[in-house]
Symmetry: C2
Subunit: 208 residues, 2 copies
DNA sequence: AAAAGTTAATTAAACGTTTGTTTAAATCAA
DNA sequence: TTGATTTAAACAAACGTTTAATTAACTTTT
């Protein structure tokens, strides 16, 4: 892909995640990416097509990571859960802000095509996660749980944290402008919490 | 409050929750509320002030509900957790769509005043929840957990469900347009999942 | 009680910006 | 010379907000 095209994509990702799809203008994107306004239409056709391209650009990596994790025979189910948490927390908080767009802003988008695209991506990824948990159940590590909603809890917890940055900064006495301090503190605490949560939730010894 | 003023507030709540703050125009609101466009500026001053008024209009009820739940001596800690789940699930899914705005869209808003207002509301509510959990810990029902992030998981799970309606409809084979079927199915399943999740997570017998 | 006066509510129209997108000319590379 | 980039300018449409005129609801005065 062209350098400029990629530059536009990454800038758009940044701005969409920060200010929302509607809250970001194509002029904003063009200016921050250092390209002419018309280049966006030239490359992508429209603002919505730009978002669509962004989603596709990011979707492949997640799926292949989950697929590999699923296939890995050297890890036991608990290890896989830990890896899963690490992966999603880091992706959400550090980079790939597109997750924010996918999990949060999709319902606000008008285009049915994009909604469909996101739904398909999610279903594809959930399939991999479902296999991981079902494998743990078969091996008698995990108890019977609502797999889909359990993943909803994981994703929900993380996006909650990324979305309510203001709130959690007040809570943890972190300077709102110190992005780095926030990340370090939140990532650690979030991983710890989620692993503790899932350990209790999934453990077969807690079977009702 | 005037009938029309309330009508505008409720319409705005509906539309903000559905299409986002930026995605909703004042003309939209005026039309759906059946009032003249200028009435919004006349009553509230601006679109942002309208949102501010909406938040204040909704914030009191939640707090007093939590406060009462906290004080209630007839319920044991587990009962209170169940009530908490019921309360939040129903509020999120059924009415009070403003929760969606608060928990999800606050980071996208430009106005620092509104961000501050939301943070204060959240802190105030969390205080009540913290007391409930700490009480359960003191009475040796609950183990030591990350209280703030545990609440993040509860809120996150619920908002995940309300936001990714498209996705979960595909998942549960529900007609996307059948709002009532979605609510019924989701509310029940969500309550069950969250209670199961919290029961394992909080139980002192699962202390590491 | 009727009329006059006063404030509040409501309206249609217009304001100046900003929006996403397109155009047609200019520049670049091969 | 040809085809792909890049540009500044312009487009119509939608945006939040304001204006000035009109109607409705009350108060006060006669």
């Amino acid at each position: 892909m062209t350098d400029k095209k990629t530059e536009i994509l990454l800038t758009a990702e940044e701005l969409f995640a920060e200010k929302g799809f509607d809250g970001t203008s194509v002029r904003d994107i063009a200016q921050h990416a250092g390209v002419n306004l018309a280049m966006i239409s030239y490359y992508f056709g429209s603002k919505e097509k730009l978002l669509e391209a962004l989603l596709e650009y990011r979707s492949d990596y997640t799926f292949s990571t989950l697929e590999e994790l699923n296939k890995d025979q050297s890890l036991n189910p608990w290890d896989k859960i830990d890896r899963l948490v690490d992966f999603y927390v880091e992706k959400f908080i550090n980079n790939n802000k597109v997750y924010n767009i996918i999990s949060v802003q999709s319902s606000k988008l008008s285009s049915p095509e994009i909604k469909e695209l996101i739904t398909k991506m999610k279903l594809r990824n959930l399939d991999q996660i479902r296999k991981i948990i079902q494998d743990g159940q078969k091996k008698k590590f995990f108890r019977k749980v609502d797999i889909e909603f359990t993943m909803g809890s994981v994703m929900g917890t993380i996006s909650q944290l990324t979305l309510s940055k203001n709130f959690y900064c007040s809570l943890m006495n972190i300077d709102k402008t110190d992005e780095e301090a926030y990340r370090k503190k939140v990532i650690l605490r979030l991983k710890t919490h989620l692993k503790q949560l899932l350990r209790a939730h999934l453990d077969i010894r807690n079977e009702a």
